[in-house]
């Protein structure tokens, strides 16, 4: 009897162990997070690289700390080339074939606008890392969360800066994308509210073009008080060089204001040199900004990994992944419905501050409204962002006494 019992107990134990095996394996399975970024032209490969680095730094930090409830994070990366059709196909593939629990990484508005349609159809969480177009938020998709910057925020910041500079006539050079045109319009809308006396117009430039002189030459006779750049590299660099060579901006008459966050691109100074001296910058990151401890940790890990100075996209990308991990922990599940609910209730201190998502309609939907920003000015060629003149801290007015202007 006793032998029989021992055999039974042993059999039961083995059966239980066998039944437990799949559960144990499942518990150890990595959590797959889909990433869509630009890794080859014509989209911005520079941005894609920075986002990828940021996500990898965050994934390593999460995994080194034991993962999420014991499961490692695995990034499944797809190249969109910044093209809407590729982005759409990439999101479809990530959801249906790779079975990812969420999508993140997108940094170009046109690609994001295509990608969110697929995520919305499958009801999979989509964390928009850096696509600024308000149209993404205005869709009102409950699956799409936006911890990054948005056009209305830049529009308001640019309009406020133009007012504080005392500009009377302002011109934006915008690239011919959802991002560029959307932002140019957002600045116009903000100027109507904040400084209705400012005369404003924007010119749309082809981001694949190499010659912007026909758009610049007419400005020589009657230059505006400020030119706002709403283009991404390399077109932005070419435009800046040509504006500078024609003596239009930066000059004693005309400010050059960058609304695209160019200054922390690693190739910025190599490509613009004198044309960048005096440029005012809308900045989402500055080493002199106050940052939560997590931001410092991510910045140090990034520098150790790449030998580069931290940049805004690094933090935005890292926050995107941290938010997904946080939502999984709180939901205790990777099921899409539970994740979306948890993301909607987010209150998480990431690399840039405490992130929550607004439920207001329009551009504010599922948006972190208080994305911190500063204004700084590059006063020397080859100047690091950290050495630039910080002329406006988050939430503070512009300190005009710190501004430098060319003699002519």
């Amino acid at each position: 009897m006793a032998g029989l019992l021992r055999r039974d107990v042993l059999g039961l134990a083995l059966t239980a162990a066998a039944l437990m095996l799949p559960l144990t394996a499942q518990a150890a399975d990595p959590i797959k997070v889909g990433v869509t970024i630009t890794q080859s032209p014509p989209g911005s490969v520079v941005q894609g690289t920075q986002v990828k680095d940021g996500l990898e730094v965050a994934a390593k930090m999460i995994n080194d700390a034991g993962g999420v409830d014991g499961r490692k994070i695995e990034l499944v990366i797809e190249d969109t080339q910044g093209l809407p059709e590729k982005a759409r196909a990439a999101v479809e593939k990530l959801i249906t074939r790779d079975k990812v629990v969420a999508i993140t990484g997108e940094h170009q508005s046109s690609a994001a606008l295509a990608g969110i349609e697929v995520a919305h159809r499958y009801k999979i969480p989509y964390i928009n890392t850096n696509a600024w177009s308000d149209a993404i938020r205005e869709k009102g998709y409950p699956e799409v969360f936006n911890p990054g910057n948005y056009n209305s925020r830049v529009g308001a910041a640019a309009a406020q800066t133009m007012k504080e500079l005392g500009a009377k006539r302002v011109l934006s050079f915008a690239e011919n994308t959802d991002y560029g045109i959307g932002l140019a319009k957002a600045i116009g809308e903000s100027l109507k509210k904040i400084a209705p006396g400012i005369e404003y117009k924007y010119e749309t430039l082809d981001r694949a073009s190499k010659d912007f002189l026909p758009a610049i030459l007419p400005l020589r006779a009657n230059p505006p008080d400020a030119i706002i750049n709403l283009m991404l590299p390399p077109a932005a660099y070419i435009m800046m060089n040509q504006v500078y060579e024609q003596g239009v901006a930066p000059s004693a008459k005309t400010w050059l204001y960058d609304g695209s966050g160019l200054a922390d691109y690693p190739d910025f100074w190599q490509n613009v040199k004198e044309a960048g001296k005096g440029m005012l910058v809308f900045g989402l990151y500055h080493p002199k900004m106050a940052q939560p401890p997590l931001g410092k940790q991510v910045g140090e890990a990034y520098t150790a990994k790449t030998k580069n100075e931290p940049n805004r996209l690094l933090f935005q990308a890292a926050d995107s992944l941290f938010l997904i991990a946080d939502a999984i922990k709180r939901a205790k599940s990777t099921e899409p419905e539970a994740l979306i609910k948890a993301l909607g209730e987010t209150k998480y201190t990431g690399t840039r501050g405490e992130i929550t998502f607004s439920k207001d309609k329009g551009f504010a939907f599922n948006q972190w409204l208080d994305v911190p920003y500063v204004t700084f000015q590059l006063t020397q060629v080859n100047q690091k962002v950290g050495d630039s003149a910080l002329v406006s801290q988050p939430g503070q007015p512009l300190d005009a006494s710190k501004l430098w202007k060319p003699a002519k």
């Binding site: 080859s40 694949a208 190499k210 002189l213 758009a215 660099y237 003596g247 190599q270 004198e274």
Partner: protein, 298 residues
């Protein structure tokens, strides 16, 4: 003519000169092989990188780096002809028998390969080439122009003139023209048509790379920098007459000026459409282009 008009005319002509440097090579290739080289823009890109990296990374003086970029482009052209193009016409003496659909696929593939190779090996970041002269602004009456752009325009005129003279009067130029007129006839006359094709590819690659090098301080080399100029070149070659070098030069200058004025007086948004509109008009009313010959094959 107002100050802005002079400015626009000068800018348009200079832009046209740079278009011409690109388009001549493409036109020559079409003239002799009757194929469109879809990797032509990538020869331009390779030239821009070669000049920039030779000058910046190796510290070679710009006046040495510039001809070296031509050599790199010519070497790439030669390599392309020997390895990818020769199967196209090897063993054939008539254009009608050549496998020109093969050329479309192989040059398109080469284009994608070169873009992605540079993207992965050198990286996605843009590189601005060092200018030939540091003077950023020169005032010539109503025209304000950078020293590099002015000098580059002068060099482009010289290179175009030398190329045209070589094609017209040199021994190899005459052979190229003979092959272009009648491959079989040239072959029967004892001309090595394969060698003529190789020379044309070298010259074409060298000129495109030279254009890229000359413009690298203006265009900032990046993996896809050649795509746009290549599209312009295709338009120019059709406008000028397929295979006609003088036609390519005149069409380049005309397109540069039309785009420059059209952008200001019509619409900047449609600047790149002007060439396409011209292309459609030519295809409708003068399909042989400015200097091309009407042809019919049965």
């Amino acid at each position: 003519m107002s100050g802005i008009d002079v400015d626009l005319a000068v800018n348009g002509l200079i832009t046209g000169l740079f278009y011409a440097l690109m388009a001549i090579g493409l036109s020559l290739i079409f003239g002799i092989l009757k194929i469109v080289n879809f990797a032509h823009g990538e020869f331009y890109m390779v030239g821009a990188y070669a000049y920039t990296l030779i000058a910046l990374a190796l510290g070679v003086p710009v006046w040495v780096a510039l001809p070296l970029a031509f050599v790199v482009g010519a070497a790439l052209g030669w390599l392309t002809e020997r390895t990818l193009m020769r199967p196209l016409y090897a063993g054939y003496t008539s254009w009608g028998l050549m496998r020109d659909e093969y050329a479309v696929i192989v040059t398109f593939g080469l284009s994608l390969f070169l873009i992605n190779l540079v993207d992965k090996v050198i990286g996605p970041y843009a590189y601005r080439g060092p200018p030939l002269v540091e003077t950023s602004r020169i005032v010539l009456g109503p025209v304000l122009i950078s020293g590099h752009r002015l000098l580059a325009a002068g060099i482009a005129i010289a290179v175009i003139a030398i190329t045209a003279a070589l094609i017209k009067w040199s021994f190899w130029g005459q052979q190229i023209r003979a092959v272009s007129q009648n491959r079989l006839g040239a072959s029967l006359a004892g001309i090595d048509t394969a060698k003529a094709s190789a020379i044309v590819f070298m010259l074409s690659g060298g000129l495109a790379a030279f254009a890229g090098a000359l413009l690298s301080p203006v265009i900032n080399a990046s993996p896809d920098v050649g795509v746009f100029p290549a599209i312009k070149s295709y338009i120019i070659v059709v406008l000028g007459g397929m295979g006609s070098v003088p036609g390519a030069i005149i069409a380049s200058l005309a397109l540069g000026v039309i785009e420059s004025f059209g952008a200001v007086y019509l619409s900047y948004q449609y600047r790149d459409a002007f060439g396409l509109i011209l292309l459609m008009l030519f295809l409708l009313f003068r399909p042989q282009g400015l200097f091309g010959e009407k042809g019919r094959e049965v």
